[in-house]
């Protein structure tokens, strides 16, 4: 087992993780997930928010087993390799809002960095604007990091704290399988508390058992290899360190090949699955997301894997993402395939303004 761990923490770890995601994500699409959405940490959190009734956009409601698997897979790896270290205290309230703003931005683009790369690998050229925005947002985050931005230090916490997110994930799994319906609408018909889409992207999903196993595999590998789709760009720009970037390149290349083999590669700007063509707001949305992820220390996947290791601050970011996804739809900030939502552009500008203020003002408090 230790040789496996050594391999995964070597330079080959992120490459193997990216390559495996590059195979498994298109396969999930083949088995039922929406187009170019084998894995999307933001879309899946948004679907979970909808399934829990935090928003009522009926096309995007489902408890995505991939999220449950990713966190629990990271937990298993952390336990086996003695890296389960409950900790918290690094500006949790700021992290909650960074999670919210990251989702606002990503839902204008319609995808997290993972999906941006997967969309590119599926021939969706509108992803190029999102990826350029992501790089811009990460670059802005680096400016703040270089000028002293810090969310302060975390401290060790009791073991119980680290088990909260795994418990939440097990609860979500129970709700996915039981799908309780004991609420009543105004006419007395059964409705909720769990909502699953009957049409639209939320109704498209691979069999849950396959989805959760894929999540477990990705969570395990990514916890060991520290795979991060935002750290990849950040480290390359900051220190010319390509360790994580190699993993993202492997993801894109292998996903492209897998899509070709499966007949899922369709290049173009128009009519791409769960995508919109407004280049300015595809770009702008991901500037906000990239900035928020960079200030919080990692991409949405990394936040999920860290939550599995017992990191309570990353967990707050994940909760912020799920709550933020609810707001994004309730306040018409999320895009649809027709284009940006009515308040999407405003949300991006307000989010950017707030993240810039945080970037300029958050400094480590002197003892």
């Amino acid at each position: 087992m230790s040789s496996v761990s050594r391999f995964l923490t070597s330079r080959w770890g992120p490459i193997l993780t990216g390559a495996i995601v590059g195979v498994l994500a298109p396969l999930l699409v083949r088995m039922g997930n929406p187009g170019n959405m084998g894995i999307c940490m933001v879309c899946f959190d948004r679907d979970i928010a909808g399934a829990l009734g935090l928003h009522r956009a009926s096309a995007v409601q489902y408890i995505r087993p991939e999220i449950i698997g990713c966190l629990l897979g990271a937990l298993v790896a952390a336990l086996i390799f003695r890296e389960f270290k409950p900790r918290t205290g690094s500006a949790p309230i700021v992290r909650f809002f960074l999670g919210m703003f990251a989702v606002f931005g990503a839902l204008v683009f319609l995808g997290c960095p993972w999906r941006a790369y997967l969309r590119l690998a599926g021939g969706d050229w509108t992803a190029i604007f999102g990826i350029l925005g992501l790089i811009g947002g990460i670059g802005l985050g680096i400016v703040f990091l270089r000028t002293g931005f810090s969310l302060g230090r975390s401290r060790s916490a009791p073991k119980a704290l680290g088990w909260i997110m795994p418990a939440v994930m097990v609860t979500l799994l129970v709700l996915l399988l039981a799908a309780p319906q004991f609420g009543r609408d105004a006419s007395g018909n059964l409705t909720g508390p769990i909502f699953f889409s009957e049409k639209g992207p939320g109704s498209q999903h691979a069999p849950w058992i396959i989805a959760i196993v894929v999540g477990l595999v990705i969570g395990f590998l990514a916890q060991r290899s520290r795979f991060c789709t935002v750290g990849a760009v950040r480290d390359m720009v900051m220190t010319r360190d390509s360790h994580l970037l190699n993993g993202v390149i492997a993801l894109i290349v292998v996903a492209f090949i897998t899509n070709l083999v499966l007949g899922q590669f369709h290049s173009g700007f128009e009519n791409q699955p769960v995508a919109q063509t407004n280049e300015w707001w595809n770009f702008g949305g991901m500037v906000l997301a990239g900035l928020a992820f960079t200030l919080a220390g990692g991409c949405p996947g990394r936040q999920l894997f860290l939550s599995g290791e017992g990191d309570g601050d990353a967990a707050i970011f994940v909760i912020g993402m799920i709550v933020g996804a609810g707001f994004a739809h309730n306040f018409t900030m999320a895009s649809s395939t027709a284009g940006p939502g009515a308040f999407g552009p405003a949300a991006v500008l307000v989010g950017l303004a707030i993240c810039i203020v945080l970037g300029l003002t958050m400094r480590e408090a002197k003892a």
């Binding site: 205290g89 810090s150 969310l151 520290r226 750290g231």
Partner: protein, 73 residues
């Protein structure tokens, strides 16, 4: 004996442990720099960054689970 510079990066998120190490190594130029971190991710990242700039890395696990990374050039 020359003074040992100590960087306490315990509890800090990515990429701050690596940034602080980089700054300290550039400032020191050579000699001994000690970095304290409390996660294996930070330990690996700091070690990789130091190795790539030509520093020798020695890692000691501390009793409370943190790591003392001694960098020499």
């Amino acid at each position: 004996m020359s003074e040992i510079k100590t960087i306490d990066a315990r509890g800090l998120s990515c990429p701050q442990p690596v940034m602080l190490t980089h700054q300290a190594l550039q400032k020191a130029g050579k000699g001994t720099v000690e970095v304290l971190v409390d996660t294996s991710t930070a330990r690996d990242n700091v070690s990789r960054a130091a190795t790539s700039s030509g520093w020798k890395v020695a890692i000691e696990q501390q009793p409370e689970g943190s790591y003392r990374i001694v960098l020499k050039k």
